[in-house]
Symmetry: D3
Subunit: 296 residues, 6 copies
Amino acid sequence: MKEPLEKAGVLIEALPYIRSFSGKTVVIKYGGAAMVEESLKESFAQDIVLLNFIGIRPIVVHGGGPRISKTMERMGKKPTFIDGQRFTDKETMEIVEMVLGGLINKEIVAYINSHGGKAIGLTGKDGALLQAKKKIVRKMSDESGTGAPEIIDLGLVGEVEHVDPKVLSALMDSGFIPVIAPVGVGPHGETFNINADYVASAVASAVGAEKLLLLTDSPGILDKQGGLLSSLNRKRINALVKDGTITGGMMPKVDASLKAIDGGVSKVHIVDGRVPHCLLLEVFTKEGIGTEIIGQ
Amino acid sequence: MKEPLEKAGVLIEALPYIRSFSGKTVVIKYGGAAMVEESLKESFAQDIVLLNFIGIRPIVVHGGGPRISKTMERMGKKPTFIDGQRFTDKETMEIVEMVLGGLINKEIVAYINSHGGKAIGLTGKDGALLQAKKKIVRKMSDESGTGAPEIIDLGLVGEVEHVDPKVLSALMDSGFIPVIAPVGVGPHGETFNINADYVASAVASAVGAEKLLLLTDSPGILDKQGGLLSSLNRKRINALVKDGTITGGMMPKVDASLKAIDGGVSKVHIVDGRVPHCLLLEVFTKEGIGTEIIGQ
Amino acid sequence: MKEPLEKAGVLIEALPYIRSFSGKTVVIKYGGAAMVEESLKESFAQDIVLLNFIGIRPIVVHGGGPRISKTMERMGKKPTFIDGQRFTDKETMEIVEMVLGGLINKEIVAYINSHGGKAIGLTGKDGALLQAKKKIVRKMSDESGTGAPEIIDLGLVGEVEHVDPKVLSALMDSGFIPVIAPVGVGPHGETFNINADYVASAVASAVGAEKLLLLTDSPGILDKQGGLLSSLNRKRINALVKDGTITGGMMPKVDASLKAIDGGVSKVHIVDGRVPHCLLLEVFTKEGIGTEIIGQ
Amino acid sequence: MKEPLEKAGVLIEALPYIRSFSGKTVVIKYGGAAMVEESLKESFAQDIVLLNFIGIRPIVVHGGGPRISKTMERMGKKPTFIDGQRFTDKETMEIVEMVLGGLINKEIVAYINSHGGKAIGLTGKDGALLQAKKKIVRKMSDESGTGAPEIIDLGLVGEVEHVDPKVLSALMDSGFIPVIAPVGVGPHGETFNINADYVASAVASAVGAEKLLLLTDSPGILDKQGGLLSSLNRKRINALVKDGTITGGMMPKVDASLKAIDGGVSKVHIVDGRVPHCLLLEVFTKEGIGTEIIGQ
Amino acid sequence: MKEPLEKAGVLIEALPYIRSFSGKTVVIKYGGAAMVEESLKESFAQDIVLLNFIGIRPIVVHGGGPRISKTMERMGKKPTFIDGQRFTDKETMEIVEMVLGGLINKEIVAYINSHGGKAIGLTGKDGALLQAKKKIVRKMSDESGTGAPEIIDLGLVGEVEHVDPKVLSALMDSGFIPVIAPVGVGPHGETFNINADYVASAVASAVGAEKLLLLTDSPGILDKQGGLLSSLNRKRINALVKDGTITGGMMPKVDASLKAIDGGVSKVHIVDGRVPHCLLLEVFTKEGIGTEIIGQ
Amino acid sequence: MKEPLEKAGVLIEALPYIRSFSGKTVVIKYGGAAMVEESLKESFAQDIVLLNFIGIRPIVVHGGGPRISKTMERMGKKPTFIDGQRFTDKETMEIVEMVLGGLINKEIVAYINSHGGKAIGLTGKDGALLQAKKKIVRKMSDESGTGAPEIIDLGLVGEVEHVDPKVLSALMDSGFIPVIAPVGVGPHGETFNINADYVASAVASAVGAEKLLLLTDSPGILDKQGGLLSSLNRKRINALVKDGTITGGMMPKVDASLKAIDGGVSKVHIVDGRVPHCLLLEVFTKEGIGTEIIGQ
């Protein structure tokens, strides 16, 4: 009898968290290893379904990654990156859209549904969910920063102008779980490739989410010694950027997090997607895992 | 990290059960040790709140027991039992009603509310919930059973004639958890003391409950060697009554169970209330605990 | 034919009052003789049901009185009063709760239901309706009032901190009539005995009641010659307290009345509960009966 | 204090009737003296408003009578009657429609509204409420009844083919009181003059009314000695028609009553409209007034 | 195949207008030739039904005109006009009410219903829709304007004090089309004859209409050369009144238009009712027809 | 003025059709030339938006065609067809899914939205909309038909087992237009390529559609002389299949049509998608275009 009792104990420990998130919306940016490894894909789908059944309204925003480049290569097209961002010409955009909206999005939907959820896949074109414009990237042309900034053309890389959350509410009110591919639509019908972290951040603000969870392939934000920083506010983050602790791939995540905070989201969590059931651990345990970002 | 992962695993194991009970009503007869021992009272309240938050609609029906006799004695009144049933004269009925509806009922309500639930205590008088009539008890006057049956007068002991579930729906639809004391009201306004197992059974039928759980102070229904019988149907129960395996205090529980089955409840469980979190163990584990009673 | 016509005339006279209270909530503090004498109990229940059927939403708050002391005595416990308030130790509180919530409350419920109403009995524990704290009573230690006030310990006598009216709305929206026993719950789960006039006042404010009716065993507030004062405002009341016209048991009623006015209730009426159908007379006749208290 | 108490007593006597009609629909055919005498018009309007405020859903169907003939005469047109029914040519129909729908209907509406009701006047054209066809009247051409029946042409006198009650529900659900003029519309847009008793009967059936009240200028159905017959069923009515007790103007009322009974209305009452507040007397007193007609 | 394609083209051209008016309320003052000529009556009814089916909420307010005078004459009463307004004594008012509310109103209702709409006719008495008071008309007694103004008594000619739009919402929410006769009710139950343009204006303001369309028997507001002025604002209108371009029968229309603009209506259109399908042309074509009046 | 009047006439002609389809669901299979030529894509999107605004609930099911093969070729994969059906191995299925769900589906969505509609793209995986199984194709191995049939393996070509229309209702009730790619999901999570005509037929049955429209690249079903057969019933179709009039690509369309009729759809129309605005012509003109298929 001991083991079942321990199980019951675990459920009871979760009670205060279930209580406080009941009826709230949580946006999850899904990507990296969690989207590649079979057992992590299963555990992610289970977590989403569980969150949904206990009264939380989850929204998933996913990225794309290696599968886009792989498909491009099969179609004889060489991926080009400028400063770490994919240069997206029209042909590339078509492949991005096909892979994100046609393959990856529907695979996530099918995983969730196979565990008893009712997921619906969307791209930013559906219901004009993600209205976008071309992203203008400026780069200082020299170290001194005194010259005019160089404008880098990334092609059809976009940024979110406006989120129309009506389709999300209609679906969630009927018990469906929205799964969003980060493809936006421009004012003249152009298709834009958008960074999924920023999409998740904009969606979280637009729906008034309680939490935004960003899955990464690291334990969270680390200090220079590699130790996990478990809670950060805006001021501390600015200092860490300035002193070079936060750099590289973590930069857009941190930026997207602060945008969500500005947009009214209470807390953002940068969470290690390589840990099975990282969503449950984050939502249902006291310590959580990863780095929590708050306003002040 | 290992321990949290195990915790997540427990939540995930519960998922299929959460899914299949989502939106269903479960009636729980609460009594015995579970209503006496402090830690069991806590664990019961937690279980009820957890069930409620994950989308189940629980209804609690409680008994009274030792506290009634204790209060009677303090008021200089000696409890009388006939064939194991409390003889209830008018003065006794007043004490029963006071203790059940005024003390025990509100204590259970307060426990549930202190864990974040929203319980409302009711007796059968509220909203004319339990309409009752005097219970007529017949007893064979000799062993041979050939004489006319003797009618035993138990005073204001009653049985349920009709359940009006409107107040239960009104409360549950607004997120409240009904807690019912087994006091009924007669056609001329009489107050009746009713066996709580039968009340739970009648309520379960009236609301179309998915499950009825009867808490007892034994592991379930036992065979002659003291082994637990984990699943029984009507036919098998009849045989066990006939051969004397089921006797004494288990008789009314078994009778109430079969009445609930007749009333459309799919399954009844006789569960050991002395096991902490017995509700969660019954609802969320594959084997369950105790004895399951089904129609066929 | 003459008599029926007179009857019709009476109904027609009531029409303007029915019209102006349609859909409004009226809180009634029920106590004193009206809760003791059989014929008054009947007429009270009829009045409540009639108010309810013609579109008014009544809420009843009742006191306890003689029955508590009687039960205490039967249990060998001597009631103690300090300055007219019952000293409430833990054992007394248990008896108070039992008698108020288990006996009196359910008796009122049954009376109302026997006339076709659908009443539901509640104490302040149900749905955390009455959240309370210990009442601190200060008394000037000498006539001159220059010394430090003496703090009188009344044990578990409490006062209302917060009313959570959700259960009241849920019930009234489904056509039920709430009947409330003045027992509150403290932040640590303590049970408090609260003056029913103050509970009625706090509930009236919390639900935005149109009227608060306080039943007493006198014709209303009387002047020094014993004449009825039919309408008073705050200023006039203050003068009457100062000059010693209002004293004794009328003091808390007047204080509770002014609190209700502060809480947004338009009018409070102190009404003679010894007059049969005093509620109908107050609500449906031009002059009303008793003393009306308004803000200005 | 005695008089107010008597008033309260009258209200309380009405309680069982209020209770049993709560939420039910009652159709009233209004006509005769009650529609002519000033004080009766007032008392009728008060009754309707009172019924409405205490939770009954009244529908008024009115006739026309003397005012139509008066207007015809002013317009230099001589009213013609064949066997007691108004011959209605096109010009007459226009006058009938104008007087019924434009004058009488709106006057009734205004009376009800002036007492605090919210009445809406309709003719059978509004929302295609009363779909009608030409009424074919057959008359035996000789006493022996052996010849072929003669068909009498009454012009635009019609009978109800179908009632579309949607506008009635829409209005009553929003708290409005429908007042209907007995003008129907034919399949080709023709306007038909219909007997108001039959309209009331058809409307009562279509809305599933609890009661149909037909106001007349007599105490009810009388026996040959002029004594009131207070309750009649179909069989007894047939006998009374056969033996000539029921004749003349009472015939269509009795026929309309039986049609309503066939259409599912529980009871029809033929009531003396000359008695002030006859509606209240009928609905709220035990004996009622006039003649009650039931199926069996 | 060419012709059907052209038809489809017309429907497609209407799409942007259908889109922008979807769910909006449009008030139409109906009168003049459009209410007299058979084919225009048909085309008006078709337009109203079409507007309704494509998601617009139309409200019709109609006038009376020649038919009132004709009926007066038939009743031997000579119409009297003072400064172009009908002097309305009590007898005249009765005829006005009868003709407007009983004949014309129901004829419009029947036309609309015969094309598949669900119209309901109302006068200002129904649901106390149009609460009115006596209109005080002042006239300068001489050209110089220096003497005291003369007050002209028009009898029961009234003006709108307050519109209670509840019955309109109740009907429109259930899919009905309100058709309103310009008869108002005074504080003491008086019946008032009101100018239909002003009624339409007041109703449009009260319901927050998107547009008010006033049908006339001219192409719109004309300049001194008889050319159509297709768009005017308040300032320009004031100038045109001052220089005598706008005079006579156009004055009250212009005044009613500006009142509607003040009441929050975005645009008013003075439209030629002699043009078949003028409503569709105004709502669904780019240029519209007639004169558009805006605030600035 | 003549031209606008003609336009109004066209709108009025459409009124009876608008009326009779108001609130009804129409399923449209979209494919062929209409999905390729730019101007036809525009006219299709306009038609869908117009249908939606005038109160019809359209659902679009689209095919894929040339674009799939083109993409396969770019990825170095040769399309294989067996008896006119695409052999679909796992790699092909991935390309099919990507092109259908990621490119074509979202392009249609964007077209509709650019004309003011609110379209949402779905594949059969979303909300488990299209539950499918492997399609078993049997072929007689010789002309005489006496041998055992040969089973042809088409790989992941599937057929619809069950349609779960919940997501369609949720979206349509909120004003969205579902656009469905014919990709199904198997019991073990397999992805299936399904013929779009059959998907449209199954969806039409599942939602109780009023009409199913199948767009083709021919004027409809033709007789042997190439003349259009404008209306056919089941019996006549069977004859035409037997005598070889209906063959080839028209066979599955005819079969899907009869399945829809069996599933409760009233009428199916095979319509020439090469005609601009063919949807409007079919729905809003008397003759319609193409071939109508009915049950009897």
